[in-house]
């Protein structure tokens, strides 16, 4: 297939990009890594009037490790996130979640900002950004604003980004006493599409959970935190046993009134299983 004809512009500055976005009455698509957009274009599921290519825009890529925060440019490739030494030390869960995305050919092109904007329900990085409490920084000719990752995606494939805005960077707080890990089940091996994923953040002391953060992906249109499960974990032994934990994940992730894919019960159960295993692995690593 080939795309419906569109105009194409490749600005080299952010101001140039923002100028290109000022196109009243015309639909604009931003091209980052292209790993999702290009198939959507060629299958004619997306039919923009203009494609603004961000790949030549200076200053949108890069990883900065600060004392309190890690800033990652929106156009930073997932392969870079996966292999960056400083990041591996500062926020190892980001590196491991990036490494879980598709396969290397895709990660070499795919970007962090693109992944958040594409907002696939079971995707790895939106779940981790939510768990870590990241801020998504958006710029437009009107100014700059920062949106918490948990409020960025509004549904499967939709975000709060306005048509004239560009995501410029994602800011992650350093995790302090929390240690995070991400795990998922894929449709095949490690390169298939994710079915469900879990990001677990844990502050433990003496083998007991002091505080927990649990985000599940794939069970609904956007990744969600499970505060009920988080609260229930506090005070428990990390090593378990965790009777009823899978059931609580299923109950909270599929609570009435929420929506999700037809097999969400199964996906939520998988998320629960992944959570229990993450706890067991954590306990195992700490020798308890």
């Amino acid at each position: 297939m080939s795309a419906v004809a569109f105009d194409y512009t490749a600005p080299t500055t952010l101001d140039g990009a923002l100028g290109a976005l000022d196109a009243p009455g015309r639909t604009v698509a931003l091209l980052a890594g292209g790993q999702s957009l290009v198939p959507l274009l060629t299958s004619r599921q997306v039919r923009p009037d203009v494609v603004v290519d961000l790949n030549g825009v200076a200053g949108l890529a890069g990883i900065g490790i600060g004392a309190d925060r890690v800033r990652i440019g929106a156009m930073t490739r997932l392969r870079e996130v996966e292999r960056h030494r400083g990041l591996a030390a500062a926020l190892p869960v980001l590196a491991s979640a990036a490494a879980a995305v598709a396969h290397p050919h895709i990660r070499v092109r795919s970007t962090l900002g693109g992944s958040l904007c594409h907002a696939a329900p079971a995707a790895e990085l939106p779940a981790v950004a939510l768990a870590l409490g990241a801020q998504v920084v958006l710029r437009s000719a009107r100014g700059v604003r920062s949106v918490p990752a948990g409020r960025f995606a509004t549904g499967a494939g939709t975000t709060v980004r306005a048509p004239d805005e560009v995501v410029t960077e994602i800011v992650f707080p350093r995790t302090g006493p929390f240690t995070y890990e991400f795990s998922e089940l894929c449709t095949r091996g490690s390169t298939g599409y994710p079915v469900a994923g879990v990001c677990l953040g844990l502050r433990a002391d003496g083998g007991l959970v002091r505080a927990a953060r649990v985000v599940v992906a794939g069970c609904g249109p956007v990744p969600v935190r499970l505060p009920g499960v988080e609260a229930a974990l506090v005070g428990r032994a990390v090593a378990g046993p965790h009777p009823g934990l899978v059931a609580s994940v299923v109950a909270e992730a599929t609570r009435p009134g929420s929506t999700g894919p037809e097999d969400r019960e199964y996906r939520a159960e998988v998320a629960g299983v992944l959570l229990v295993r993450a706890l067991a692995a954590r306990a195992g690593r700490e020798g308890r």
Partner: protein, 795 residues
């Protein structure tokens, strides 16, 4: 250096590999053509609808538009595609190209031709369809329900026809009555996509002056395509030439002319020019025919001593909206091969074809034998469990033994040769290994071994005639020594990536006693290839074209020797042919040697031969060319046994295949490297069907699996690293050269092997493992139903 040129049995790298890897491929989209126009289709967005209007006014007004043909235009330009292999009572004898009722989503209703591919797509979108929706009939259950909407006029209750094979009903009933155990299960083999690397495509060029239509097509059977095109377009056979360039896989999906392909050719005729259509992946997902699509209720009756008394099955074939040229053929093969490699007192199966409002189904690698193996081997496994016997032991007890061969089954298949027990025991022995010590508590691991026979050398003329199948089953080759001594093979089989051109070259080179690189194999052009309706289908190319080539090479080698002897003034048996491994035909190192140092090079012999010199009689033939048609006396049966080791995750339901061992007997192997590739590739495809692949539609009959996002093919990482393929060799007794087929064997057994291994790992759910694919959610649902909780699995 002697004249010994041993090529058969050598693992020569397939000759097309380097060319393709270096970008030298000539696939349909690569072909250069002058002034070519581009086609796109207007396809039905609904599963079932009357086409009340097809308004192409806007498209035709666009300056980029060359031609639009809608249903009315097509009705005047095309006849329907005839079907060939019909079910008794089948009410639909052809597949119309021009339709006023859409019977599946994705059905082509019209064609748009424009100056660029993009313009063609734009203009196809600009055609305004007026569709009057009709009720969809997406499943076999919907089709057979009382008061179901009719899909095909004249098909009562949406049944396309039925046929029964095997033992009389009373013999089955008697066997069931005296059985100690009767295992009965319901099976579902879903629709699957063939997913060839290269989707379909056609480049058709018509010259009004000469009246010649030249069609390049990504086709697995150019002669069959030509025959169908002649019928559709009302052209003579000598007006239509079909050429298959490099074909990037087919697996049965490119064996027949499709209506959309016919429309491209009709458009070329209408325009008096060249029109190309290259199918997109999205179109391939919705418009290309699918495979499998079978439901079965099947029984196995076993005596108290573990002897098989009867196999019996009622098969429902989801034919889709039309029975294709081969209609229920694959399902009939399921019925014919249900008994497999075992003795039984009786065996029978009934096939009912059912029309649904889905894309038609047809041939797919394994052609009904994978379905038969899945049904049979699962039943055997279940019977072993009920009898408390080892499944391997139960199989060995019932396998047909070498001394029983030839053996004719209850469905009339005569197995020629082989050692089914040796193959099964070898696979079982290979798979034996201690479980790894570090499995987590939620993993259960086990192994199973299954067995099957593979039909090859399809098919003796008499067999096709008896079935009323109007195709040629024989295979012809033309083997020529050119005037410079090089060798050309023409055959009607074609290369679809399997490497047949290399294997045929090996057979010709060995038969003539020449180096391999002197031989060129020309395939795929109906103007030069010997006629072949079935071409490279049905694991037949090597057995039949190879068998013919063995005969042709023997004859031609004899003629060369006689010629040389004449020039050397000697008797043929006094002449010695000596060709150095790296010699060219004119080299003194490539010569016939007579007495007293006299010699004549291979090239000079050929060259003189072409001048007509050296003939003993004026009536002797001149051209150094042999045409041989080989009609096999009977089918020849390859066979194999596969063992799979699986690790089942009780918490997520995920099944991982952790080891796989395949042992085959395909008679004499011409090229072990190609044989290994064929079996390995087949296993990979079979594992996909075992675990992930299913072409699905929603309740309205609209495709849900429309890309590789929703349709999960196995990737390299899903194929176990512990994958072992071995071959035993029992030469065919009915094919010159002793060859048997192996194109499908790899794909036949993996679903059975994997499902039986899962059953062994988790006996609690064994009785439910009768539907494919074994996706994690489906396995987890079975585990849940059996009371195995996600946490219980974790301990």
């Amino acid at each position: 250096m002697t004249g010994e040129h041993r090529h058969i049995g050598r693992p020569v790298p397939p000759r097309h590999h380097e060319r393709l890897v270096r970008g030298g491929g000539r696939f349909l989209a690569d072909l250069r053509a002058a002034d070519v126009l581009h086609a796109a289709f207007v396809r039905s967005p609904l599963a079932h609808a009357a086409v009340a209007g097809f308004d192409a006014t806007a498209a035709r007004r666009d300056p980029r538009c060359a031609l639009v043909l809608g249903p009315d235009d097509l009705a005047g330009r095309t006849a329907a595609i005839p079907t060939v292999w019909r079910l008794p009572g089948q009410p639909q004898e052809s597949i119309p190209v021009a339709v006023h009722t859409a019977r599946y989503a994705g059905q082509p209703l019209g064609i748009v031709v424009a100056r660029t591919p993009t313009a063609a797509l734009d203009l196809a979108e600009a055609v305004r369809l007026d569709l009057a929706p009709l009720p969809p009939v997406p499943t076999v259950a919907d089709a057979l329900a009382e008061h179901a909407p009719p899909v095909v006029p004249g098909a009562a209750g949406n049944e396309a026809g039925r046929i029964r094979f095997g033992s009389p009903a009373e013999e089955i009933a008697a066997a069931l009555a005296r059985a100690a155990v009767v295992v009965e299960r319901e099976f579902t083999l879903p629709r699957v996509h063939h997913s060839p690397l290269e989707p379909r495509g056609v480049l058709a060029a018509y010259e009004a002056g000469t009246g010649l239509l030249t069609v390049h097509a990504s086709s697995q059977s150019p002669h069959a395509m030509r025959q169908d095109l002649c019928a559709v377009l009302g052209l003579r056979a000598d007006q239509v030439r079909v050429i298959a360039p490099d074909v990037g896989g087919s697996f049965g999906s490119k064996v027949f002319l499709y209506p959309d392909e016919a429309m491209v050719c009709a458009a070329a005729v209408a325009l008096g020019g060249a029109v190309r259509w290259v199918e997109s992946r999205a179109e391939n997902f919705t418009g290309a025919y699918q495979g499998r699509a079978q439901q079965a209720t099947a029984r196995l009756a076993v005596s108290g001593e573990g002897r098989f008394l009867a196999f019996d099955a009622d098969l429902l074939a989801d034919l889709g909206a039309y029975a294709t040229q081969a209609g229920a053929g694959p399902h009939q093969v399921t019925a014919l091969t249900l008994q497999g490699p075992y003795h039984a007192d009786a065996a029978a199966a009934t096939v009912r074809g059912v029309y649904t409002t889905r894309v038609p189904t047809g041939a797919y690698r394994g052609y009904g034998m994978q379905e038969a193996a899945f049904i049979r081997e699962r039943l055997v496994d279940e019977a072993a469990r009920e009898l408390g016997l080892s499944p391997v032991e139960l199989r060995l007890r019932n396998l047909i033994r070498p001394q029983d061969l030839p053996h004719t089954t209850h469905t009339g298949l005569t197995y020629d040769s082989g050692d089914y027990g040796a193959v099964l025991r070898r696979a079982a022995a290979l798979a034996e290994r201690p479980p790894p010590p570090d499995d987590p508590p939620w993993v259960r691991r086990a192994t199973a071994v299954v067995a099957a026979v593979e039909i090859s050398a399809f098919a003796p003329t008499a067999l096709l005639e008896a079935f009323g199948i109007a195709w040629s089953g024989w295979e012809g080759v033309r083997l020529r020594i050119n005037h410079d001594g090089t060798v050309t093979v023409h055959s009607g089989v074609i290369a679809v990536g399997q490497g047949i051109e290399t294997s045929l070259a090996q057979i010709a080179a060995e038969g003539l006693g020449v180096p391999l690189d002197w031989v060129r194999v020309e395939l795929g052009d109906t103007d030069t290839a010997p006629h072949s309706d079935l071409s490279a289908q049905a694991s037949r190319a090597l057995t039949l074209a190879g068998g013919a080539l063995v005969i042709a090479a023997r004859q031609l080698a004899g003629r060369m020797r006689a010629l040389a002897a004449g020039f050397l003034k000697a008797e043929p048996e006094q002449v010695t042919l000596r060709i150095a491994a790296t010699a060219d035909p004119s080299s003194p190192e490539a010569a016939f040697h007579g007495a007293g140092g006299a010699r004549i090079t291979w090239r000079e012999t050929a060259h003189r031969g072409y001048r007509g010199w050296g003939r003993a009689h004026r009536t002797d033939r001149i051209r150094l060319e042999e045409s041989v048609d080989f009609d096999p006396p009977q089918l020849t049966f390859a066979h194999g046994a596969h063992a799979a080791e699986v690790a089942v995750d009780l918490g997520t339901g995920r099944v991982e295949v952790t080891g796989y061992w395949a042992v085959h007997d395909s008679g004499v192997l011409v090229n072990p490297l190609i044989a290994h590739g064929q079996i390995t590739g087949g296993i990979a495809q079979g594992l996909g069907q075992a675990l992930t692949e299913e072409a699905r539609v929603d309740g309205a009959g609209l495709p849900v699996t429309r890309s590789f996002r929703e349709y999960t093919l196995p990737a390299a990482q899903d194929i176990p690293e512990d994958l072992v393929v071995e071959h035993l060799c029992t030469p065919s007794t009915v094919i010159p050269g002793g060859f048997k087929g192996l194109g499908e064997g790899g794909a036949i057994l993996p679903p059975a092997a994997v499902a039986c291994a899962v059953a062994a790992a988790v006996p609690e759910i064994a009785h439910t493992l009768t539907s494919l694919p074994l996706t994690p959610s489906r396995v987890r649902a079975a585990l849940r139903a059996a009371g195995i909780t996600a946490e219980g699995g974790i301990r």
